[in-house]
Symmetry: C2
């Protein structure tokens, strides 16, 4: 597994999010083209909706948005797109929220950890080698072969902490 040099910051309140979206979609296009994956109109749109912000979004929220846009959509419609996007490493599932969020490093098979603000709902994706190696060490001691990690930390982000000091 490749390792990233930098961990992500929590998305700043004032960052230029349009850039996040266009960048994510461009990367997705390029990656799918390169890998021969079919980023269809539907899948692309779902990815775009997920990237609307940095807050993990539920499947039925996405479904409702698609429906409002006039598309005939039922649960399988959205779940199939989500499956594709997850298999292609374009999004992550946040298990503790039953929600989905855009991946910062599409195509890269990385062990991700998430810090999720319970106030603003934003999620920051990390790739901390220390966490990963601590887990690997435990696994080795147990003789355990790691397949999937679910590492999600809920709490309050710096921004919300400062702004809730009423």
């Amino acid at each position: 597994m490749r390792r990233l040099k930098h961990t992500k910051q929590f998305p700043a309140a004032d960052h230029d999010h349009k850039t996040c979206i266009t960048h994510a979609l461009q990367e997705a296009e390029a990656y799918c083209k390169q890998q021969g994956l079919r980023l269809t109109e539907l899948r692309r749109r779902v990815l775009e909706l997920i990237w609307a912000n940095h807050q993990p979004v539920g499947a039925y929220d996405l479904l409702e948005q698609l429906t409002r846009e006039g598309r005939k959509a039922a649960p399988p419609t959205i779940y199939r797109s989500l499956d594709f996007l997850m298999q292609s490493s374009l999004i992550h599932r946040i298990t503790s929220l039953n929600a989905y969020v855009g991946c910062n490093h599409p195509g890269l098979d990385h062990a991700a950890q998430f810090f999720i603000c319970e106030d603003c709902g934003q999620a920051a994706e990390m790739d901390d080698a220390k966490i990963e190696s601590a887990i690997a060490k435990d696994a080795k001691r147990l003789g355990f072969t790691v397949e999937k990690r679910t590492i999600e930390v809920a709490g309050i982000c710096a921004h919300c902490k400062h702004h809730s000091k009423t």
Copy 2:
């Protein structure tokens, strides 16, 4: 938060599980008595069913077992007991499985990590200070206040690995 000295081993195939059960129930009784918590007949029975083995069990599985025993039980019955047991730190919820498993250190407010075998279904609870401190360090850097951790590693345990070499 108190820190445990030893991390748990994966439950061995041949361990004396009856001891696990009686020990867990005795500890629960003692802890509840000491804390003035009411471990009612229902709650005690649910805890016992959860401790039937080391595999996290679903709420509706428990419900079915209660029903078979002749008790009038509906989903709220079981979910309320589960809530009580979780708040009392007698069980953990395994988020990635929507299932519940007995806690090894009742009453102790510990950060738990779980290694879950996808073959035999058993879960091993750990309390690795390295993982916890790595998370704490990231949180500090982000200015993030940690509330809840969900750390679950799925894979194949040593026992199942050896026995699937057909």
